[in-house]
């Protein structure tokens, strides 16, 4: 659905069900340069099982009006504005990669609005490889190829998508390429690289959190994910074997099961 946040048009997938402000809300936040499409194997389930879902396209991504927001702190505030704009008092957040940093910021800045946070491939900081950052900021599509290479574990490189017929790396790459490498991916990578407040934000979070990690993740290694979880008071860690950074797609079934259990416990639907 399309709606306005701070007078700018925003697109969010509602998981195939009409948005219902009476149901508990889950906001899904995608990773760098990506879009709501990455969440399709989680959002539809929750939308059909008692929740209202907003898998948002961050500003300047997917079908949301730009420009992209340049800092994680501001992106965190923007998520709170999203929740306000749909007139809901509190929501659970689910983030992937950069989306985890945004969820951390939002939950630390607006603790009253956030019921629980589910992280996939979450770390307290995501310093960027300088060459990759430079390529992305120049709009070079090679940045996308490198990102897709590093982001995917064995399933991404060999195959075995949870949805028959889909190709991990080409699908992920096309989501980024269909947007703007320079104005979305480049801005996102710079925002990640600049962000230093992850562990401080984590210490302020009181709501329950889960960090779902892939043991073959080269972008947010499990040590970094565990370190982040150690800084969140009420957190748990789940590790998925043979999985890279694209946990939400590479192991969509396992990650959905973990998320179902976590959200149903901490933010139950009627």
């Amino acid at each position: 659905m399309k709606f306005k946040v701070n007078n700018k048009e925003v697109f969010a997938s509602t998981g195939g069900r009409p948005f219902d402000e009476k149901k508990p809300l889950i906001v899904f936040i995608h990773g760098s340069g990506l879009s709501h499409i990455t969440w399709v194997l989680q959002t539809r389930y929750f939308a059909f099982h008692g929740y209202s879902v907003l898998a948002i396209d961050l500003p300047g991504h997917g079908y949301s009006e730009g420009p992209a927001i340049e800092s994680i702190e501001e992106q965190g505030k923007w998520i709170a504005d999203v929740i306000d704009s749909v007139k809901i008092k509190e929501a659970s957040l689910v983030g992937h990669s950069q989306g985890c940093l945004i969820a951390l910021e939002c939950a630390s800045q607006f603790p009253d609005k956030i019921k629980s946070i589910g992280l996939m491939g979450g770390a307290g900081a995501i310093p960027m490889n300088p060459e990759l950052l430079d390529l992305a900021e120049k709009g070079d599509p090679k940045a996308v190829d490198l990102m897709m290479d590093w982001a995917h574990g064995p399933a991404g490189h060999f195959g075995g998508h949870p949805v028959p017929g889909l190709h991990h790396i080409n699908l992920g790459g096309s989501i980024v390429i269909n947007g703007s490498v320079k104005n979305a991916l480049g801005v996102d990578f710079r925002a990640c690289d600049n962000y230093k407040n992850g562990f401080e934000a984590a210490k302020k979070i009181k709501c329950p959190a889960i960090n779902i990690l892939g043991d073959r993740d080269r972008m947010c290694p499990i040590e970094e994910g565990k370190k982040l979880a150690d800084n969140i008071e009420n957190s748990e860690v789940a590790i998925i074997e043979n999985c890279g950074h694209m946990i939400l797609l590479e192991e969509a079934g396992q990650s959905l099961e973990l998320l179902k259990k976590f959200i149903r416990k901490n933010h139950p639907a009627e």
């Binding site: 998981g15 195939g16 069900r17 389930y45 059909f48 990759l132 790396i169 079934g253």
Partner: protein, 436 residues
Amino acid sequence: MDPKTYKFDTLSLHAGYMPSKNAGSRQVPIYQTTSYMFDDVDHAAALFNLERGGHIYSRISNPTVQVLEERVAALEGGTAALATASGMSAIFLTIMTLCNAGDHVVVSSQLYGGTVNLFRLTLPKFGINATFVKPRDTEGFKNAIQENTKCIYGELVGNPGNELMNLPEISKMAHDAGIPVVIDSTYQTPYLFKPLENGADFVVHSLTKWMAGHGSSMAGILVEGGKFDFLKTDKFPTMTEPYEGYHGLSFAEEFGPVAFTMKARAEGMRDMGPCLSPQNAWNVLQGIETLSVRMEKHCSNALKMVEYLSNHESVAWVSHASLKDNPDYELAKKLLPKGTGSMIAFGIKGGKEAGAAFIDNVKLASHLANVGDTRTLVIHPASATHSQMDEATLKLANMSHDMIRLSVGIEDIEDIINDFEDGFRAAKKPKLVANK
């Protein structure tokens, strides 16, 4: 710093399959099953509602077939693929997913005869009509686009005349008009040409041909490029508006770069059911493992046959884009740097009778209705593959009655040439042969 993603030959052998998820089996297992166990009622409901991925019933998907789909998607650079029982069913599925009754398509006039009949005779029964345009008439494609046109369809190198479409130019015109381009790339395989990197939005193949390569198994596939944005136009409401069949699902909104494949599978395979058997999928996978090696030999043999035929006294003309005097020579050099393929069309002096004598007297070359076998194949299209076309359609396809279609195999070239010599010798005395 370069990405370390696997390259073409490696993908031909490995893409789509992980032994660790299949009991360590190095070879792809053949999942000879109709259906798949659900974990519980919730799991079943989620699968049926596209809330999660997985297999339900082999008409919709099958793990062996899935390996083939991912492998071809990997080789073509596609976001997704959907394998079907034959190339024709892949084409039918693609058009039926894109079009509704009242829609129109712009189609190259040089296509496999079965495809011509699909567009000329069968699709009009469903209210989908076509305008045929000669493949070299680039502007003609643009001029044929109507308000209700839903795609441009063609073969890069047309069957059987071997004339090229200027795909990059035609794609620009299509995209300016808000419609996608569908290319049948059977003749090229992704080894020679990747339509998705040259403007096409969807690729279809008869995998029966060079991809499988051994003349053993029927199979087809649809590959999605992931770049055509259905939400940027109002021409495709069945892709963008809520679909009753899945509780109001908008395929384009939910699935973006794989929306078309998701709809073709969820709706098309459900309702039409042209599923590929796991055994045939496995056979095609065997072929794809050696695609590069075979295509190299196909192409090198084809070049030698082009040279041989071009200098033969019994040959009136030869059509192959590798020839410098061919109108498509420059375009082919640009689009097909690894080779222009192993299909050759040539005219035999003495017309239809000489052609019949030639075909009846070659022994090594097989006279049959197929192309892309490892073995050399010949046919007289006007009396076989394209015989159901009327004179006007044959003319539009630039087909003459003296035309022989040759699919060059990977035998020793000297043996193919010796065989052709026997054929040409007999063709010089067609009446004698006809009376034998």
